[in-house]
């Protein structure tokens, strides 16, 4: 442990929970927008953020009647901040829903399913049922029986589309001693140092991003 680590330690301890939440939410939001796959739903973080949004709205409503110019200026600042937070949450959730709709079968089982929040699971199953009904009503019910499945993999072609995990993403290294990242199927080895920026396949760094060693940009 050298002086930088100690300083980093102090830095982390000195930053209040709210600021850290904002930072991690922003990080997750960026990651959700660029990564080809969905990431685990940050249950606790979202709860804290939504809680704070609700409190802010309440506080604003209380202060709204106040005509004192000083408070109304403060109110404008608070409201602006609130709008930004709302945007962040909204865009984050929408990015997740968009991914869910793009590859519904992929997310409806196995590990990807565990990444969803309870309401996202409900949305997914409801939307799946709705789509299945729609396809059946439109044409699928008139097809021969053997062809009516939606997740057919016979004939060498799998009907279920999966996200392209080999998509290139741009990431920044956040921690020391991340070590060497190997890209599967190639001879590429990346020796990652703190502060480095790499363009690399998502599949190679997925675990490290989720562990917080890297951030996507």
């Amino acid at each position: 442990m050298d002086i930088d680590d100690i300083l980093a330690e102090v830095d982390r301890a000195g930053v209040p929970q709210e600021a850290r939440d904002l930072q991690s939410l922003t990080r997750l939001w960026v990651a959700e927008r660029v990564a080809p796959e969905m990431q685990p739903y940050p249950e606790d973080l979202m709860e804290r953020v939504l809680d704070r949004i609700a409190k802010q709205i309440e506080a604003i409503e209380e202060e709204a009647g106040n005509m004192d110019p000083k408070t109304s200026f403060k109110l404008v600042v608070v409201q602006t901040e609130l709008e930004r937070f709302k945007f962040l949450v909204r865009s984050f959730l929408r990015a997740r829903i968009a991914k869910l709709d793009a590859h519904p079968h992929y997310y409806s089982s196995g590990t990807p399913y565990t990444f969803l929040s309870a309401s996202e699971r409900q949305y997914l199953s409801a939307h799946q049922a709705l789509l299945a009904r729609h396809y059946a009503a439109s044409f699928l019910s008139q097809f021969p029986h053997s062809l009516q499945r939606l997740d057919d993999s016979a004939g060498g072609v799998n009907m279920v589309d999966v996200p392209d995990v080999d998509k290139a993403v741009i990431c920044r290294v956040l921690k020391d001693n991340v070590g060497v990242v190997a890209v599967e199927g190639t001879d590429v080895r990346c020796d990652m140092e703190r502060g480095d920026v790499w363009v690399i396949r998502w599949s190679a760094i997925k675990e490290r991003v989720m562990a917080g060693d890297l951030e996507l940009i």
Binding site: I53, T80, H134, M159
Partner: protein, 206 residues
């Protein structure tokens, strides 16, 4: 030839993507694809029919029949994929317009989606649009504070200049009531008028 109709349908689907509104569904084409698939299936059945009763007369020894079987098999699957892709493309458009608040939804209850897509939805698609709107409303209900269908542009200012394009009546804001008459201009909180901008009543001024 097998697959021609499906090919046309895919060409339609590709063109649909660049059109501003959803065109009417290709009902005839779809029906002909379904008919083709069914006739292929009956071909398969007649080919396989004798084989299932008498394994010794198996068509496995007849290369011609085997090729016919394979062709039918592949064509049916291809037809299905093309139909799925076509339907999916349309469904995504419909879902997208539901997310955007379904312009024209307010004009007439049932089949309100007609306004958005020029009445070019099949009955099944209208059903889908209605049910998806319900589903969306249910999901949105969990995030009342955030308003999921709000703008996806990062907010820059709390207040914006807007010009009224169509009479929208009065709206309540915390700074009092504003009467939105055509061609007037206001400086209002973006959150208050988001909906009206999306619905085309107001225009945001740069």
């Amino acid at each position: 030839m097998y697959g021609d109709a499906a090919n046309k349908l895919i060409a339609h689907a590709a063109r649909t993507r660049s059109l501003p509104t959803l065109p009417a569904p290709q009902t005839e084409l779809i029906a002909s694809i379904i008919a083709e698939t069914r006739s292929l299936q009956s071909t398969v059945n007649t080919l396989l029919g004798p084989a299932s009763q008498d394994p010794s007369s198996s068509i496995i020894n007849d290369p011609g029949a085997r090729v016919q079987l394979l062709t039918a098999y592949v064509c049916m699957r291809r037809n299905k994929r093309c139909l799925m892709a076509y339907a999916r493309g349309r469904v995504e458009r419909i879902a997208g317009s539901v997310w955007e608040g379904g312009k024209g939804m307010s004009s007439g209850g049932d089949g309100g989606e007609e306004g958005a897509e020029g009445g070019n939805l099949s009955p099944e698609e209208e059903d889908y649009a209605r049910q998806y709107a319900d589903l969306l409303a249910a999901y949105k209900g969990r995030w009342t504070d955030v308003d999921l269908t709000g703008s996806l542009e990062p907010p820059r200012d709390l207040f914006v200049d807007v010009r009224v394009l169509r009479d929208a009546g009065e709206i309540q804001t915390e700074y009092g009531t504003i009467n939105l008459t055509k061609n007037s201009q206001f400086y209002v909180r973006q959150g208050d008028v988001e909906r009206l901008i999306a619905q085309g009543y107001l225009q945001k001024l740069g």
